[in-house]
């Protein structure tokens, strides 16, 4: 909340900019006079129904969670720096891997995308705000409580959940700590929050587009978020069902996953991954939208194959419902099921390949410039593709029998989630920060952040592939001695990556507090309605819909 002060100063200066603008551009009429004076201080943030305020809250919350989950990763890497047990007990180590995963997935990546959606979607489609502003406020403000509940379980007698973020039964039902109830309720709240966020996004996009903003004029970020929101509505309730079954199995004597009572523990994995696989696309589709905005802006060309991008996104979303069992190849499925899920999984490489080639084609013979958002976007394309390829390797059934539950899997999903999703969020922040704050950020510092991040992320995650191929299992606090050297390198990369993110914090705070004034459109070839607004974007925008040709 420290940063709320400089933020509100920015907002105070906004009406001046508004006045200039409404003279210059009659399409944007700003009706600040008709609004009540917004409450000041903390009350402004608690009561706010403004999409930009709520977007800011989401983004700060996500960053705090990113550092929290990152701190847990540091504990993990510190323990794994050497073989043997040095710093923490195995049970606490398991709590760290579990809570790290939960915090990063539900606390860092998903709220960051919701924050970006809140900030950008109304400005991109020419809407004055999100369609359901009060629900928007609620969907954010229940989130801190969800994580308060989850993190407080670390201080309970039996410790926090230690069964992995995937909470497989019977680990989560028969062998779990007493704090499992806290875990279940916090996941319920997170789910409710993201479902409300998703409903808001859909209603906004469907009903609030400015006249003339037809479906196929929408920016890719809006498209990808629309599809993501449908995925959220389809699978978050299933997750809620799964945690509810775990709750009743553990505390109320049901036997959904207990073979002794006629249930089936393997069924848990089916239900979980029915949610879990679309979930990984929930965490990457908005990234595709961000990258599709940034690559053209710094290549001086239009996005190559816009329509194919839309269709590719849709087909990825549909296919994501047909591949869940590739997480469970080793559970003893019949061969025809293994083949079905293997082929469906490999099929996803086709629309994903369409996207990657479209981005490359957009850059091809473009007048490329390499500002920080572009650097992150290019790093995203390269590193995400590496993660995609290791995913293809994992999709091959006989190979998966060797890779399953090894560090190869850890390397794979960190490539797609850290150097994929997180890098795209960084790229988005560097792309839109001037619009949000009205100031340009420190270019040199941002370059330092980029190069530190991109080098350390590879030192951190690339050697994990070799550890996995050599047979090091995941989720263990101790390991065989032959893995020691590579683990040391991985840990050093981990510490470096963690520290690099403090540079990002520095850049953002410095940018909020001041700096070179940003023009309305700081990137020469950027396209989209958000760049027709002044920088910083005034509190209320597009109260009168813009004209779209």
């Amino acid at each position: 909340m420290k940063t709320s002060k400089p933020e509100s100063e920015n907002i105070k200066s906004a009406p001046v900019a508004d006045a200039d603008l409404s003279r210059a551009n009659s399409a944007i009429a700003v009706e600040d006079d008709h609004h009540h004076e917004a409450p000041k201080g903390i009350a402004r943030w608690i009561y706010s129904t403004n999409h930009k305020d709520i977007g800011t809250l989401y983004l700060w919350f996500s960053f705090i969670m990113f550092l929290t989950g990152g701190a847990m990763a540091m504990v993990i890497r510190a323990e794994l720096f050497q073989p043997g047990l040095q710093l923490v007990e195995p049970q606490f180590f398991n709590q760290m891997t579990t809570v790290h995963g939960l915090v990063m997935v539900f606390g860092a990546v998903m709220p960051a995308f919701t924050g970006l959606a809140n900030w950008m979607i109304p400005m991109m489609i020419g809407a004055p705000d999100m369609a359901l502003p009060r629900m928007n406020n609620l969907s954010f403000w229940i989130l801190p409580f969800a994580f308060l509940i989850l993190l407080s379980s670390l201080f309970t007698a039996g410790g926090a959940p230690d069964f992995g973020w995937t909470f497989y039964a019977p680990l989560s039902t028969q062998y779990s700590p007493d704090s499992t109830a806290l875990f279940v309720f916090s996941v319920h709240i997170m789910g409710i929050s993201s479902i409300m966020g998703a409903i808001n996004v859909i209603v906004t996009i469907v009903n609030m587009r400015a006249p003339g903003m037809t479906w196929f004029k929408m920016p890719m970020f809006v498209w990808t978020w629309l599809i993501t929101a449908f995925l959220l509505i389809a699978v978050m309730p299933v997750l809620a069902g799964a945690v509810t079954m775990v709750l009743t199995d553990k505390y109320f004597g049901t036997s959904f996953f207990d073979a002794a009572g006629g249930g089936d523990p393997v069924m848990f994995q089916h239900i979980f991954w029915f949610f879990g696989h679309p979930e990984v696309y929930i965490m990457i589709l908005p990234s595709f939208g961000i990258i599709s905005a940034i690559i053209p802006a710094f290549s001086g060309k239009k996005l190559f194959g816009y329509h194919s991008m839309v269709y590719a996104t849709c087909s990825i979303a549909l296919l994501s419902f047909l591949v869940w069992a590739h997480h469970m190849f080793t559970t003893g499925m019949p061969v025809f099921a293994e083949l079905f899920f293997m082929y469906c999984t490999m099929l996803i490489a086709v629309p994903t390949g369409v996207k990657v080639f479209n981005w490359v084609a957009t850059m091809w013979r473009g007048a490329m410039t390499f500002e920080t958002p572009m650097l992150f976007a290019i790093a995203f394309i390269i590193l995400f593709t590496i993660g995609g390829f290791s995913g293809l390797m994992l999709a091959i059934v006989p190979a998966d029998f060797q890779y399953h539950d090894t560090y190869f899997v850890v390397a794979h999903f960190h490539y797609v989630l850290v150097s994929g999703a997180v890098f795209s969020i960084m790229a988005a922040a560097y792309y839109w920060l001037p619009k949000w704050t009205g100031n340009m950020y420190d270019h040199k510092l941002s370059l330092l952040h980029f190069w530190c991040s991109v080098i350390s992320v590879n030192v951190l995650f690339f050697p994990m592939h070799f550890l996995g191929l050599a047979g090091m299992p995941r989720r263990i606090p101790d390991y065989a001695i032959q893995f020691a050297d590579v683990n040391q390198i991985v840990s050093i990369g981990g510490f470096a990556f963690g520290l690099s993110q403090l540079i990002f914090l520095w850049v953002v705070i410095k940018c909020i507090r001041g700096g070179e004034k940003a023009t309305d459109k700081p990137w020469e070839h950027a396209e989209g309605l958000e760049w027709t607004l002044p920088s910083p974007a005034p509190h209320h925008t597009f109260s009168t819909p813009p004209k779209i040709d």
Binding site: I199, N207, I233, P237, A260, D264, V266, M267, H270, P334
Partner: protein
């Protein structure tokens, strides 16, 4: 703006209904899972009710299928649990009688429930049990021993590719689940070790 609000409300309501429906679907996956496993004959689940004694079935003397019997008491269940015969050669269509032996090594009454599983999973639907101890709960008093019968046959049209069937029983302690309501309270008081296990 009014019209906007109206259509917003309508769409929001629809999406909320979709959310509720998907929550229900999550639970519908439970029976759906069993139906799928049943109809596709996957998961190694064998029949949970007794099959009828086959009428006029001719054993296929030309084929021999090796049947392996396995037994696992679950967790720390204090029972010994073993097949009387670990391995036998069976002709498809032949009705076979064998048994498992269980002994309660503890000093108190425990109710056991055996859950069968057949591997390879696709062979499960050809493995028919006419009588099986797994159809019933098995209560044993402290130190009591019991021989639990099993009568089965393998269907003659079992695919040529299957040469071995492994029948595995996992034995679960269901003393608490099977207790009568008034008995539960007594068990909780008398039997603190069981409570800790759960």
């Amino acid at each position: 703006m009014d019209e906007h609000n109206k259509s917003n409300k309508k769409l929001t309501l629809r999406l909320l209904m979709a959310t509720v429906a998907m929550f229900g679907f999550g639970f519908a996956l439970v029976p759906l899972y069993d139906v799928m496993c049943d109809t596709l004959g996957i998961n190694g689940k064998t029949n949970i009710e007794s099959a009828l004694q086959p009428q006029g079935m001719v054993p296929d003397e030309s084929r021999v299928i090796k049947v392996e019997f396995m037994a696992h008491p679950n967790q720390d269940m204090p029972w010994s649990f073993e097949p009387k015969q670990a391995l036998m050669d069976v002709h498809p269509g032949q009705v076979i009688q064998t048994a498992y032996v269980a002994k309660n090594l503890s000093n108190h009454r425990i109710v056991g429930q055996a859950v069968p599983s057949v591997s390879p999973g696709l062979g499960a639907s050809y493995f028919n049990k006419i009588e099986c101890f797994c159809f019933n709960k098995q209560p044993l008093a402290g130190q009591e021993q019991a021989e639990m019968p099993l009568i089965f046959y393998i269907e003659p049209d079992i695919p040529e590719s299957i040469h071995t069937l492994t029948l595995s029983y996992t034995l679960y302690d269901i003393t608490q689940q099977s207790a009568e309501p008034e008995e539960v309270a007594a068990l909780v008081v008398n039997d603190s070790t069981q409570g800790a296990l759960q």
